[in-house]
C-alpha cells in the first residue's frame, strides 16, 4: 500500500477518534459539575424499580442530583442472589442496595450491612408501623422499606377461560395451557415457593423431603412451561405471548389501560415480599447514601416514584395520594385476611439453599433428549475421524512405497 493511502486511513481514524473525544467532552459539559470534588454514589436496584423519566412521572435520580449535587450511578440486577453474589465476588462497593426481606436477613447475618442513623433519615418516620421491626430486621436498624406486594397470577383474559375465583396455583400445572405458562424466576426460591404452596407446604420449609417433593412438582411442570423469565412477564402476557404467569402484583395492569390482562391472588396462600433500602458495610459514602434514602422516602418523591414503579407503598400518606383505582384495588392492596394467609420468605441456612439450588438445576437440566442424539452423532463423527486417520496413514505408506 502506498504512503498516500496510509495517510488517508490515518486521517480517517484520527478524525474518528477526535470526533469521539469531542462527543465525550460535550457530554461532560452537559452534566453540570460545578462542585470540584463531586461525590458519586453507586445505587444498585432491581430492574424497573424506580421512576427514571421514561414515563410522565418525575425522574427520581435526576431530581436527587439536581437538588443535592450528588451524582447517582444507577445500575440494576434481576434477583436477590445476583445482588448477593455480585457484592461477594466482584467486591464492587455499592452505597445503596434494595434487597428483599430474606436477603436483608442474610446480609445482616453475614455482617454486610451498615447500621442506619435514623436521625439522618427523618422521612423514615412516615413508614407505616406494620412495616417496622419486621422479622428480617427485628430491631429495625438496617433497612427502610421501599416497596411491598404479594405474588399473584396474571392471566390473559382472552386465552384463559376459568373464572377468576377458580384460579389457584394448580392452574399452572394444567396441561390445557401447555407452552403458554411462564414462570418467573428471580430466584430458585420463587419457583420452589409456588410448588410448595401448591402442595400446601410452608414456603420456608427446611425439610429436605418437602423440598424434594416440590422438585418433583417442578419437573412435572417443566414440559408445560414456555420459559423461565424475570422482568418480562407483562411484556409477554400483554401481547399474548403467554396466557398465565405468576408475578408480583403491580399497579401497571390498572393504570396502563391494558384490558386483556387479569390478576388473581390465589386464595390458598401466597408469598408477600418487602424490598428494603439498605447500605452495605463497605460503602464509601454512607452519609450521601442516607441522604438518598431520606430523599426516596419523601412523600412527594415517593408518590411520583410509586406511580411509576407500580408496587405497593409502605407509606400511608403516599397511598392516599394515589389514584383510587389503585389504592382501593383489592388485588393490589389486599385485605387483612388475605395478608394473614401470606408468608414472607425467611432466610434459610446455607445448606438448605444449596440443596434447593441443586434440585432446581437438576430440574432445569433434566428432560434434555438431546444427549442420546448427541452420543449417536458423536460416535459417528468419531468413526469418521478414525477412518480419515487410517486413510491418511495408508496414503502416506503408498507414497513412501513409490
Amino acid at each position: 500500500m502506498t504512503k498516500l493511502s496510509r495517510n488517508k486511513i490515518f486521517i480517517i481514524f484520527f478524525s474518528l477518534v477526535l470526533l469521539l473525544l469531542f462527543f465525550l467532552v460535550k457530554n461532560k459539559y452537559i452534566t453540570p459539575s460545578n462542585e470540584s470534588n463531586q461525590v458519586t454514589i453507586n445505587v444498585y436496584n432491581w430492574g424497573n424499580h424506580i421512576s427514571d423519566g421514561s414515563s410522565k412521572y418525575l425522574n427520581v435520580n435526576a431530581e436527587f442530583e439536581r437538588r443535592t449535587g450528588i451524582k447517582v450511578n444507577y445500575t440494576t440486577y434481576q434477583d436477590n442472589e445476583s445482588l448477593y453474589t455480585k457484592i461477594m465476588s466482584s467486591g464492587t462497593k455499592y452505597d445503596v442496595i434494595v434487597p428483599s426481606d430474606y436477603m436483608v436477613a442474610k446480609f445482616i447475618e453475614k455482617n454486610m450491612l451498615k447500621k442506619l442513623d435514623f436521625k439522618k433519615i427523618p422521612n423514615a418516620s412516615t413508614i407505616d408501623e406494620e412495616f417496622l421491626n419486621p422479622s428480617y430486621d427485628v430491631k429495625n436498624e438496617y433497612s427502610v422499606p421501599y416497596t411491598w406486594g404479594v405474588v399473584g397470577i396474571f392471566y390473559n383474559k382472552n386465552l384463559v377461560d376459568e373464572a377468576p375465583e377458580d384460579i389457584d396455583w394448580d392452574i399452572l400445572w394444567n396441561p390445557k395451557y401447555k407452552g403458554r405458562i411462564m414462570m418467573f424466576e428471580n430466584s430458585p426460591r420463587d419457583v420452589f415457593g409456588i410448588s410448595l404452596m401448591k402442595l400446601g407446604l410452608s414456603i420456608n420449609t427446611k425439610n429436605p423431603k418437602e423440598l424434594e417433593m416440590a422438585a418433583v412438582e417442578m419437573a412435572k411442570q417443566k414440559p408445560l412451561i414456555k420459559g423461565y423469565v424475570s422482568d418480562q412477564v407483562f411484556d409477554k402476557i400483554g401481547i399474548g405471548e403467554a396466557a398465565l404467569a405468576p408475578y408480583y402484583t403491580d399497579a401497571y395492569i390498572v393504570t396502563s389501560g391494558v384490558e386483556n390482562v387479569g390478576l388473581v391472588i390465589p386464595k390458598s396462600s401466597t408469598n408477600m415480599f418487602v424490598n428494603a433500602l439498605c447500605i452495605p458495610e463497605n460503602s464509601n459514602h454512607p452519609e450521601e447514601a442516607m441522604e438518598y434514602i431520606n430523599f426516596i422516602c419523601d412523600i412527594e418523591i415517593a408518590t411520583e416514584n410509586i406511580k411509576h414503579v407500580g408496587y405497593c407503598t409502605p407509606q400511608r400518606a403516599v397511598r392516599e395520594k394515589l389514584n383510587p383505582l389503585v389504592s382501593q384495588n383489592k388485588e393490589l392492596y389486599p385485605d387483612k385476611e388475605v395478608l394473614a394467609k401470606s408468608h414472607v420468605y425467611e432466610n434459610l441456612p446455607d445448606e438448605v439453599n444449596s440443596l434447593m439450588n441443586d434440585l432446581w438445576l437438576k430440574t432445569r437440566v433434566s428432560g434434555n433428549e438431546s444427549s442420546q442424539k448427541f452420543i449417536f452423532v458423536f460416535s459417528m463423527l468419531f468413526l469418521i475421524y478414525i477412518s480419515l486417520l487410517v486413510f491418511k496413514i495408508i496414503k502416506k505408506r503408498k507414497e513412501n512405497c513409490t
Binding site: 434477583d79 442472589e81 445476583s82 448477593y84 453474589t85 455480585k86 461477594m88 465476588s89 466482584s90 407452552g179 424466576e185 430466584s187 430458585p188 417443566k222 412451561i225 414456555k226 420459559g227 423461565y228 423469565v229 401481547i239 399474548g240 405471548e241 444449596s354 439450588n357 441443586d358 432446581w360 438445576l361 437438576k362 432445569r364 437440566v365 433434566s366 434434555n368 438431546s370 444427549s371 442424539k373 448427541f374 452420543i375 452423532v377 458423536f378 463423527l381 475421524y385 480419515l388 486417520l389
Partner: protein, 272 residues
C-alpha cells in the same frame, strides 16, 4: 538488547493478565474454601454432564449449518469479478460490526409468538409457530451471529487458490465437478478448519442466545458458569472447575481439528 526493551512490556502484561488469571482458575478449581487441595470440585462437574452434552450438541449442529451454508456462499463469491467480490464481502462482513446483543434482540422481535413472522403467516391463514424458547431458536441465533466467521476464512483461502492449477486441470480434461472435489475443496481445508473452530468455540461457550432466545429452558455450559459466579448458585470453585473442563474440551477439539491440516489453521487466522 533492543528486543528485550520492546518485548518486556508485553511479557509483563501477559504474565499478569494471561498467565496468572488462568493459574487462578486452576488454583480455585483444585482447592476448597479452606485452601486445601481437593478434586471434589472436578467431581461435582459431572452433575452437569447433561449440560455439557447439550452445549456440545448445539455447537456441533450450528457449526454444521454454518459450514453447509457458508461454504457454497464463499465459493460463489470467490467466483465473481473482483469488483463485485469486494462489495459482496464488505456486505457480508458488515453485520459483524453490529452489537451482538442488538442483533439477537432484533431476532426476538421477529421470532416471538406475536412477532413478525407469525404476523405474516397468520395473514396467510397458517397456524402460528412457536419458535422462541426452543433449542432451534438458540441454534438459529448462533448460526446468524457466527456464519460470517465461517464464510470469511473459507473465502480468503479460496481466492488465494492458484488459478493455474485449475486451468491445468481443465486442460487435462477434468470437468467442473472433478475440479471442485479434487482441487478446490482439498485446497480450502485450512479455511474450513479455521472456520469450524471460529464457529464452534464461541457456540459452545456463549450464554447470550440461551438467555435471550432460549428463555432459560435450555441451559448451556456458559449459563452454569455464570450461575456459579454471578448467579444464584454462588460457588466460584465449582465454576472454575467447570471452566477448566470447558477449556480442556476446547483444546482437545482444537487438537483434533488441527490434525486434519498439516499447515495449521492459525495461518488463515492471521490472513484474516
Amino acid at each position: 538488547m533492543k528486543k528485550r526493551i520492546v518485548l518486556s512490556p508485553y511479557l509483563m502484561w501477559s504474565v499478569f493478565f494471561i498467565i496468572s488469571p488462568l493459574s487462578l482458575i486452576f488454583l480455585f478449581a483444585f482447592t476448597n474454601v479452606d485452601g486445601n487441595f481437593t478434586v471434589s470440585n472436578l467431581k461435582n462437574v459431572f452433575i452437569y454432564s447433561d449440560v455439557f452434552l447439550a452445549s456440545v450438541w448445539l455447537g456441533i449442529i450450528s457449526t454444521a449449518i454454518c459450514l453447509f451454508a457458508g461454504y457454497p456462499l464463499a465459493y460463489c463469491v470467490s467466483r465473481t469479478k473482483p469488483r463485485i467480490q469486494k462489495i459482496l464481502i464488505t456486505l457480508i462482513a458488515m453485520p459483524m460490526w453490529m452489537n451482538l446483543l442488538l442483533k439477537t434482540y432484533a431476532w426476538v422481535t421477529i421470532l416471538e409468538d406475536n412477532g413478525l413472522i407469525n404476523k405474516l403467516i397468520s395473514f396467510f391463514g397458517i397456524e402460528r409457530l412457536t419458535m422462541m424458547n426452543t433449542p432451534g431458536a438458540v441454534i438459529f441465533g448462533m448460526v446468524y451471529s457466527f456464519v460470517t466467521y465461517m464464510i470469511l476464512p473459507i473465502y480468503s483461502v479460496l481466492i488465494k487458490t492458484d488459478k493455474n492449477i485449475i486451468e491445468a486441470a481443465q486442460d487435462l480434461g477434468a470437468n467442473q465437478r472433478e475440479i471442485f472435489f479434487k482441487i478446490t475443496l482439498p485446497l480450502s481445508v485450512p479455511g474450513i478448519i479455521s472456520g469450524i473452530s471460529m464457529v464452534f468455540i464461541p457456540s459452545v461457550s456463549t450464554f447470550v442466545f440461551s438467555r435471550m432466545l432460549g428463555g432459560g429452558t435450555n441451559l448451556l455450559i456458559a449459563d452454569i458458569i455464570d450461575m456459579q459466579f454471578l448467579g444464584s448458585a454462588y460457588n466460584p470453585r465449582l465454576g472454575s472447575a467447570i471452566s477448566l473442563v470447558l477449556m480442556a474440551l476446547v483444546f482437545i477439539f482444537m487438537g483434533i481439528i488441527n490434525s486434519f491440516d498439516e499447515n495449521k489453521a492459525e495461518k488463515t487466522m492471521i490472513a484474516l
